[in-house]
Symmetry: C2
Subunit: 228 residues, 2 copies
């Protein structure tokens, strides 16, 4: 690939260009950011003992960086923080993927069944964040990514909690979005078949907030919980 | 680990026992099957050129096997079908993960924020399915896993479509579930803080079916689309 990064788009690379359905791929920064900002759960892939591992985890975004966190005792975070041979900076090769399902696409033929979705795949090396200011901002971003405004409306981490928490940063450099939308694409010869075809919309919805058993009576429900 | 598989439970292995929050792990077959059957989208991790890759894809379950499918031209499916050194059976080392988010857990402290979720992680080697009968059953399962009853209510794949579709089987052997439920677990010294705490429920919902533009007027909406 000869494409280069621009203010508006990420540079495509061999592993961010799909072998199929290339028209669904996007490298547009705004498209990528919008998909990332609508979610909060990613699936983080890494290699452990030579085998792939995929774990669900929360993430936050600050500009062109994603942050994930976990216990300093967890295996991937220990690996990311470990010394590497050859004096290379500590880090963990990862693939971070975020997917939103928007609809089930029912074609007349089983073959053309599909899913409407928006996904982002990020490749790169997740690096331990050691700077205290960046760590604090990353932890705020992780909370606010789920519910904007919540970080300031909670007790921030104290020194002991900060010491128990590892934060990794993954820069948005080798990244692509993939989007499928619209109705089914049946073959012309299938049009007369009697099967229903179309899209069943899928969405994520939020219920009414459930207060903790020990919440002081009269504690107001914050606005960021009822805006969904 | 010395545990062995039983009719009711999968055997735990080093990589299916979490280093933290072990009380959240389950190896119960019914628990694992229920989580798998409630979803249809997984995140499939594998290694390409020495780096991890995580892609969203559909799956179906038949007994103790999961099936994924794709174009015979796609990179992971090509890799899975390729000859391997040493005469080893073709296959692709994968980690297949399914996650349902049930709620956002808001503690008074940022540190104890969490997510209620149910996930299943499957480790193993995905093998190409070449037997025509198993392939057909797997493709039905992929469609019916999303909408039970739909496979029989669509045109099954013809020979040309079958030839273009690769199917992989991943047996449920090294597998575990992880479940977090309930309210926040704040520290005693934080109980008097003024912040709202509790759970914001999250669910997947379905909208009204949207017929294809070219659907024949009067085509009835099948029952499996309105049961959600």
């Amino acid at each position: 690939m000869t494409a280069t990064a621009s203010p508006d788009a990420y540079a495509a690379t061999d592993r961010t260009v799909p072998t199929r359905a290339r028209e669904r791929a996007s490298y547009d920064r705004e498209v990528v950011h919008a998909i990332l900002d609508e979610g909060y759960l990613c699936h983080l892939g890494f290699i452990r003992d030579g085998a792939p591992v995929v774990l669900p985890t929360l993430y936050g975004r600050v500009g062109e960086s994603l942050y994930v966190h976990g216990s300093t005792g967890s295996r991937p975070l220990r690996t990311a923080a470990a010394e590497r041979p050859g004096g290379e900076e500590p880090g963990l090769e990862v693939c971070l993927t975020v997917t939103h399902v928007d609809g089930l696409v029912l074609a007349r033929s089983a073959f053309h069944h599909s899913v409407n979705y928006r996904s982002v795949v990020v490749h790169g090396t997740a690096r331990p964040v050691l700077d205290p200011v960046e760590r604090a901002a990353a932890l705020d971003a992780l909370v606010d990514h789920v519910l904007p405004g919540r970080a300031a409306d909670s007790r921030r981490a104290n020194a002991k909690e900060l010491a128990a928490t590892a934060v990794l940063r993954l820069d948005l450099a080798e990244v692509s979005a993939k989007i499928r939308s619209g109705g089914p694409n049946d073959d012309p010869e299938d049009m007369a078949l009697p099967y229903w075809s179309g899209v069943l919309p899928v969405a994520r919805t939020y219920g009414a907030p459930v207060p903790a058993d020990d919440l002081a009576p009269g504690t107001p429900v914050p606005g960021y919980l009822t805006r969904h």
